[in-house]
Amino acid sequence: WPYAYFVIYKFVQELHFCITAGDGDNEVIILQGSSDSVVQFTVLLGDVEKTAALKNLDMILLSYMVGKYFLWSMLRLHHRFF
């Protein structure tokens, strides 16, 4: 089986997540690790919309960059948002 990547998308109202991962990676881990935390964070703000996420992007970046270690230790993850 040739090595390949796959992309997982998740749309939560105005937030669009696009996550690429290696062929051997576990889809559930990738999706939960990447997007669920951000969605939960914005839910706490009471507004799952782009403007809320952008205004608090510093906190989101914080969760991603801290999470680099979390994900890096078992996944090869490339993520972009917006």
């Binding site: 576990n26 205004k55 510093d58």
Partner: protein
């Protein structure tokens, strides 16, 4: 630089101003904003936003110069005084992302070490992360004690930070991290899921080179209780690793730890279930009995409401279906419902899986569902489906009718070249492998070429029709389609159609009269190739009155492969002189000779001399020479061919034997290739070899000779002599050459040579290897740019008096000849009556060193020429050597 976001107003936001902190963001402006870090009264919110922008720029690929990074770094260190927790976290991120240099680490280390012992857990955790990222091994020993304490800290955030840092440090200071095994082992037992996961990852990495230790780790943990789902997934991966490396596989016993993997299939967390199922499917030599429980849980995921689970399940089953199709059969019902899934990746995977696992009775139902599906997907997905259908048809030959109908239907729809080609290839394969499918397949292909816009595919199908059509029950029905191509298509397709008609005429006697009528019409085609083919085939097919052998020859010509190299055919045709004897194609050599040779003619005409070494650029090594030399075992080990010279004549024109030589320059070798031509019809030369006297070339030693077995009249051949020299040394010298051979008389009437011959020799001109042979003529498009981009330190400048010269042009030409470099921008042409001239040269010196030369010539007296030589190269020593060459020349 980041692109500004496209601002699009939604109706909901009519009342609000749309806000994006990155709109029109650019590095310069953000760096200016960073000055807020220096304010005595810090605005924490504002600082957070600026740091966010800086991190955004870094994340998007922007880079900071060293000066910019230093300024931002120092500004960020000012923020350590802030009490705002959010801002402090951003400060830690910023310092880590900036990766300060060794000089700057000291400044921030004291602050971080203070934070590392802070009572605030968040400060301690983040300080540990940053500190481990930026410290060196010396500082690491100082803080090692604190790190070990942090690993077993009661706060999970602190413990995880230390463990993650350990994973990072293991790459740079493995001997230090390995001393933490006891603390990490304790952390694996932690009740906090976060800590357990990271501890397990670190412990495995510490022990990964010790298979026994990994096995023990897995053994103990598979018996214990691992709480973290992520840790459980890690454990599954490590367990699979142990199973793969276990030697018990070869004994055929039960797999170790398989019970553990199977128990994970019943875990509460979906990620663990998926990880275990996938691990089981990927076991070496997995049996159907072992697969069953994994397939069962994947089948449940197929009907999950979460797309990610459906995707993960169908992706895994797609792989299993390639190796164990029977095991996946039970999922077919669930898989069929996925064909209409709104996620196209899931649908495509479902279809390709079903095509691998479907049984014969489900083929028809599957085809109906796929018909609607195809119009919704992109070409690359379609190609995957087409190839899967091809496999399915070969698997169930009796179902070829519905599958062929499907392929022909999609062939008529829109699609790109690759997609159409995949369909045509599949139909052709089915026709070849399923005899019953031939008639309908050929018919579909005929329909396709009626409206095919791709020349390549039209000719491919016509060729195929020519081979297969005559063997069908009713060949005549294809003639209409073929002749339509002659009427309607471009010249290439028309020529192909003419050949196809000829094949029908040759094999189907009943069609021959009609084929003749059609071919005669082609005699009036506007294209030479089409007319020539029609003429040829009419001649061939019209010879039915002759003996039976002719018919076999005709078929062999039409259907056989043309095995004469075209280069040889062209050479023979050009050498052929009109005479009573017709050209004989059987005399063309089948042997491939890939190198160009200097041709000699036996008539009274004077031959054109070989091209002057100074005319025309020689951009690179002749690929055919390289191929020739590497195919000779004696020379294959010499390495990469640097240069092959132009042929140098060693004989005069109109002599009995014509010989020229090509000098092949390697780093440590020189190969002399002697191209020999025998111009005497009454002679056959054998065992032709050149005896080389290298007594005047001390720096070369002969290492190999390759003789020429036979040299008939007017048929060029090569003989080689190889010399060794020191690498990197500019070895030069003169070689004397004597051609030695055995000459045999040839009977002009029979063309046969005598059995016995006489040894003879023939003196050749001397050959010289000069410094110019080590320079490859490689031009540059813009000399000035190339010159300025080279390191001025490599420049060597000197002046030379060239003495009395006929003219300035003669001096310029002589120096160019000595250097062997490529003139640039036409500067080798000297205007008449010039009193000064500048010449620009470029080249590549042996060792692949780029060299540029600027020559300034001037008249210093009556016919006295002076020259200033400036050389730049990638290597200053080479620049010096260029001067030596000129000084000695």
């Amino acid at each position: 630089m980041a692109q500004p976001l496209v601002v699009k107003k939604d109706d909901d936001l009519d009342e609000e101003e749309y806000y994006s902190p990155f709109l029109g963001i650019e590095k310069g402006a953000v760096l200016q904003e960073a000055r807020v870090f220096h304010d005595p009264q810090l605005d924490a919110r504002r600082c957070c936003q600026v740091i966010t922008k800086l991190l955004y720029l870094l994340n998007q690929g922007d880079t900071f110069t060293k000066v910019e990074a230093t300024e931002v770094f120092f500004a960020t260190t000012k923020l350590f005084q802030s009490k705002d927790a959010g801002l402090r976290r951003m400060v830690y991120l910023m310092i880590k992302e900036l990766s300060p240099s060794a000089d700057e680490v000291i400044i921030v280390t004291s602050s971080l070490m203070k934070d590392m012992n802070s009572k605030t857990d968040m400060y301690r955790a983040n300080a540990i992360r940053v500190l481990c990222r930026i410290i060196d091994s010396t500082l690491l020993t100082q803080i090692e004690r604190y790190l070990k304490q942090a690993i077993v800290d009661k706060n999970p955030v602190v413990a995880s930070a230390a463990l993650v840092s350990g994973i990072y440090l293991l790459q740079t200071s493995p001997e230090v991290v390995k001393r933490w095994s006891n603390e990490v082992q304790e952390a694996v037992q932690s009740r906090a899921a976060l800590v357990q996961f990271h501890a397990l990852a670190l412990l495995h990495q510490i022990r990964q080179n010790d298979r026994l230790a990994v096995s023990k780790l897995v053994t103990s943990l598979t018996r214990g209780s691992v709480r973290s789902p992520l840790a459980q997934c890690l454990l599954i991966r490590y367990t699979s690793q142990v199973i793969r490396e276990s030697s018990m596989n070869s004994q055929g016993g039960d797999r170790p730890f398989f019970d553990f993997l199977e128990s994970c299939l019943r875990n509460k967390a979906e990620m663990v279930i998926l990880e275990a199922a996938r691990a089981i499917t990927e076991l070496n030599g997995v049996t159907s009995r072992e697969l069953t429980p994994a397939i069962t849980v994947l089948q449940l995921f197929l009907s999950s409401s979460k797309p990610v689970l459906r995707f993960a399940a169908v992706r895994t089953l797609n792989k299993v279906a390639s190796t164990h199709p029977l095991a996946v059969t039970n999922c077919n019902i669930d898989m069929e419902s996925l064909i209409s899934d709104q996620n196209r990746s899931i649908a495509t995977l479902a279809i390709t899986t079903l095509l691998k696992t479907g049984n014969e009775s489900s083929v028809d139902r599957l085809m109906k569902q796929m018909t609607n599906f195809m119009s919704d997907i992109a070409d690359e997905f379609k190609i995957v489906v087409v190839e899967a259908i091809r496999s399915l048809c070969l698997k169930f030959p009796l179902k070829y009718r519905s599958l062929m109908n499907f392929l022909s239907n999609i062939l008529r729809e829109e699609g790109g070249f690759e997609y159409k080609k995949a369909i045509v290839d599949s139909i052709i394969i089915l026709i070849r492998d399923i005899p019953d499918a031939k008639e309908s397949g050929l018919f579909h292909l005929c329909e396709f070429i009626e409206d095919c816009e791709f020349t390549y595919m039209s000719t491919q199908i016509l060729h195929f029709l020519g081979n297969e059509g005559p063997k069908t029950s009713d060949p005549s029905k294809y003639i209409r389609y073929i002749y339509n191509r002659v009427i309607l298509e471009n010249a290439t397709v028309r020529a192909s159609a003419v050949s196809t008609l000829a094949k029908f005429g040759a094999l189907v006697d009943s069609l021959k009269p009609r084929i003749f009528v059609l071919l005669r019409r082609c005699l009036f085609d506007g294209d030479d190739e089409v007319r020539d083919r029609a003429t040829l085939y009419l001649k061939l097919l019209g010879g039915e009155a002759t003996v039976g052998e002719t018919e076999k020859d005709v078929n062999e010509f039409l259907f056989g492969s043309f095995d004469i190299p075209l280069v040889n055919l062209e050479t023979s045709l050009q050498n052929y002189e009109p005479s009573e004897a017709p050209f004989d194609i059987s005399s063309v050599s089948l042997e491939t000779k890939s190198q160009p040779l200097a041709e000699k003619k036996t008539t009274g005409k004077k031959p054109t001399g070989p091209a002057s070494a100074l005319s025309g650029p020689v951009p690179t090594v002749d690929a055919s020479y390289e191929k020739l030399l590497s195919s000779i075992p004696e020379f294959a080990g010499f390495g990469k061919l640097f240069k092959s010279s132009a042929p140098v004549e060693l004989t005069e024109a109109e002599t009995e034997y014509s010989v020229n030589v090509v000098k092949h320059i390697y780093d440590g070798h020189v190969v002399l290739q002697y191209n020999c031509t025998n111009t005497i019809p009454e002679q056959l030369l054998e065992e032709v070899v050149v005896f080389v006297d290298a007594s005047e070339a001390d720096e070369f030693s002969e290492v190999a000779t390759k003789s020429l077995r036979s040299l008939p009249y007017d048929s060029p051949g090569q003989t080689f002599v190889a010399f060794e020299k020191l690498e990197g040394v500019l070895a030069t010298g003169k070689f004397s050459n004597i051609l030695k051979f055995i000459v045999k008389e040839v009977d002009p009437s029979t063309g046969e040579a005598d059995d016995d011959g006489v040894e003879d020799e023939y003196q050749l001109e001397d050959l010289e290897i000069t410094s110019a042979d080590y320079m490859l003529k490689v031009g540059v498009s813009n000399f000035r740019n190339a010159w300025e981009s080279m390191d001025p330190e490599s420049e060597r400048v000197d002046e030379y008096g060239l003495g009395a010269r006929e003219s300035l042009a003669e001096a310029v030409s002589a120096v160019i000849g000595i250097l062997g470099m490529q003139p640039c921008e036409g500067t080798d042409v000297v205007p008449s009556n010039s009193r000064s001239h500048t010449c620009l040269l470029s080249g590549v010196f042996i060792g692949n060193v780029k060299v540029l030369v600027r020559l300034s010539f001037g008249l210093s007296g009556p016919k006295e020429v002076a020259m200033k030589l400036a050389v730049r190269s990638d290597d200053p020593e080479i620049s010096d050597k260029i001067h030596e060459i000129v000084a000695n020349g």
